[in-house]
């Protein structure tokens, strides 16, 4: 009974998210509340299950803030480490955007390549991937696409190819690190991986893929972008210095970003958890922002944070009722214990599902599944985790609705009248996604099996 209720609520949540009629944080919070009341309350009569799912006790556990050495198994329910980390990064990114950091960076690079369209394409792709390794890809695309559209008007080129390439590279860059993409943050905090674990596993796959993808987009778009090469008047180019509104705030935001990168890269050595790093970055950003701290706090994306909280409760319901064990058993059964087949299923199902539905709930749902698969079928959990990460992160690149960064990029282009429909988007993104998926599969097979 509890399992049926949990699955029904989960399906309802997914359908409502896809329908897009109600804001997605209301959907997950509403479904989360239903899970607590109906699944844990009426069906299971279990107060401990509610407490475990709410997971408030994790805040007072020392390992939540400082985790040297071995980790205990993550409990089901709200992954507060993910929430605190994302909130902290949001504060930092808001501060950086306000100081003009992203626009300055984009314009500096465009200036460095002398405002020529094809070199801008290549450098912006690389910058998109590099930035997305540390900052959420939505923010990266928001700023990058805005500058791309601006440069396209000046240099008289079509910004659509460049924006499509930037979106793809942002998603690819995000797959390289633990903090690059929400599914990775969830996978990393749930299974206690470090930043270095991601970089040396998914990061390596992303790096190899990036080489192929740069060539792929270069060959796709070089003719179109070469048509009108550098026709703007030199004096009319936007200067990087114009992007900086407040030099002090700009310098501070650069230092904080640098500190965040160092803390994340070294967190396995220092023992600081991502929750601690997120909180630290947020506090420092707010303290150095003065009066702007209130504005930064007001502009935070609370909807996404609430979306995560509700989502974790719903997935906690599935996990505690054993519904996800059944999914794992099903995958185990059809793959007959064959690790290669199991990996192929996890990779391609994750990719295809993420191309059409939000990859965050999908990844959150799949973590208990791969844990069970590993325990029952004997397949290495790490291998399955990297497989899930690549599948969910890259699969979302294939369609206009696969990831939030895609929606933002399409919207930024459309605001200037450059309409990107499914046909135009998929024509370039689907082959690119398949290329990366194949590279991922080959890398995973070659390295881990």
């Amino acid at each position: 009974m509890a399992t049926i209720a949990a699955v029904t609520i989960f399906v309802l949540m997914f359908v409502l998210i896809v329908m897009d009629k109600i804001k997605r944080h209301y959907v997950t919070l509403g479904c989360g509340l239903l899970t607590l009341v109906v699944v844990f309350g009426f069906c299971m009569h279990s107060i401990p299950a509610i407490m475990e799912t709410l997971s408030l006790h994790s805040f007072i556990e020392p390992s939540f803030w400082y985790a040297a050495g071995e980790h205990e198994e993550a409990a089901a329910g709200i992954n507060w480490a993910t929430i605190v980390f994302i909130a902290g990064m949001m504060v930092m990114v808001e501060g950086m955007g306000k100081a003009g950091f992203f626009r300055w960076l984009c314009l500096s690079i465009a200036k460095a390549v002398k405002y020529r369209a094809v070199p801008i394409l290549i450098t912006f792709m690389i910058m998109s991937a590099l930035l997305a390794m540390f900052i959420d890809s939505i923010t990266v695309i928001l700023f990058l696409a805005a500058v791309t559209v601006e440069l396209a008007q000046l240099l008289k080129f079509n910004p659509v190819p460049m924006i499509l390439a930037e979106i793809f590279c942002a998603n690819l860059g995000g797959s390289a690190t633990m903090c690059g993409d929400p599914p990775n943050i969830i996978i990393g905090t749930s299974l206690h991986y470090s930043f270095a674990d991601f970089v040396t596993n998914t990061g390596l796959i992303a790096l190899i893929s990036m080489v192929f993808i740069v060539f792929y987009f270069y060959f796709c778009f070089r003719k179109e972008l070469s048509k009108n090469n550098n026709t703007g008047a030199a004096g009319s180019y936007p200067q990087p210095s114009e992007a900086i509104e407040n030099k002090r705030a700009f310098a501070v935001s650069c230092v904080i970003f640098g500190a965040a990168v160092i803390l994340l890269v070294t967190h396995a050595q220092t023992g600081l958890t991502v929750a601690t790093i997120g909180l630290f970055i947020a506090v420092v950003t707010l303290l150095t922002s003065g009066k702007d701290a209130i504005i930064i706090l007001k502009k935070l994306d609370y909807e996404t944070l609430f979306f995560f909280i509700g989502l974790f409760v719903v997935v906690g319901g599935l996990e505690q009722t054993g519904a996800l064990t059944a999914v794992a058993e099903f995958i185990g059964k059809i793959s007959e214990g064959n690790a290669m087949l199991m990996i192929a299923i996890v990779l391609w199902v994750s990719a295809i599902a993420s191309a059409f539905v939000d990859n965050i709930p999908f990844a959150a749902t799949m973590i208990p599944v791969i844990k069970t698969l590993s325990a029952t079928q004997g397949v290495d959990l790490d291998t399955l985790a990297w497989t899930l990460s690549m599948g969910t992160d890259i699969g979302g690149s294939a369609t206009p609705i696969g990831a939030s960064a895609n929606v933002v990029g399409i919207s930024m282009a459309a605001k200037e009248g450059h309409i990107i429909g499914w046909g135009k988007y998929c024509k370039y993104a689907v082959p690119a996604t398949i290329i990366v998926m194949v590279i991922s599969m080959v890398c995973i097979y070659a390295r881990y099996l």
């Binding site: 897009d20 939505i138 909807e303 933002v408 399409i410 919207s411 009248g417």
Partner: protein, 200 residues
């Protein structure tokens, strides 16, 4: 300077709403905006109008689009917003015009010069008109009417709080089958003049 006049005309497919809008634009000597809005926008932004027209007055595909913090992946949303912005810009400049569809009665409702009309018609009359205009059978005409009205309704209702064709959202709703196209135009012209205080 001539007093500003904005006439918005919502219409059922086959009711002759577009022809009525053309006649009113001619009578008051003001421009008509319909699908040509996208020609103006394309010219302004140096874009291909035909590319934009593919998504004109089309409802958002719920399953194939997604929104995120005010951003949308739906081309229909973007085309609609571009048209709304263009209309607001024109209205803001004090220009007079007639606009067909495009949620204008909602988009421009804050302007005093705005007169919102909705033209409907009897099913039989609309069918007959569609058969004549498009040279198609009765069955085809019925299907075409149904299809277009569903699109218009979905399009309108996804951007407006009010419902498409709901008399409470318009200054005047009129059945063009009663007076015919010419009679309806004459009656609406009188109404518009009265609203502008020209009959006093």
């Amino acid at each position: 300077m001539e007093k500003q006049l904005i006439i918005s005309i919502g219409r059922e497919f086959g009711s002759g709403g577009h022809v009525i809008a053309e006649a009113l634009a001619k009578r008051f000597n003001i421009p008509l905006y319909d699908h040509n809005l996208l020609d103006h926008i394309a010219e302004e932004k140096n874009l291909n109008a035909e590319e934009l027209k593919k998504f004109d007055e089309k409802p958002r595909n719920v399953l194939l689009s997604r929104t995120f913090k005010g951003h949308s992946s739906s081309p229909s949303d973007h085309i609609a917003m571009m048209q709304f912005d263009y209309l607001k810009k024109k209205a803001e400049k004090g220009e007079s015009f007639v606009v067909v569809g495009r949620c204008a009665e909602m988009v421009l409702k804050e302007y005093e010069a705005m007169i919102s009309l909705f033209v409907l018609g009897d099913k039989e009359c609309k069918t007959k008109r569609v058969m004549e205009v498009y040279d198609i059978s009765k069955e085809e005409a019925r299907k075409k009417m149904e299809r277009h009205d569903v699109y218009r309704k979905q399009y309108h209702n996804s951007y407006c709080d009010s419902k498409w064709g709901d008399s409470r959202s318009y200054d005047l709703c009129i059945n063009s089958s009663r007076l015919g196209i010419d009679g309806t135009v004459a009656m609406l012209a009188d109404y518009i003049r009265a609203r502008r205080g020209e009959n006093k």
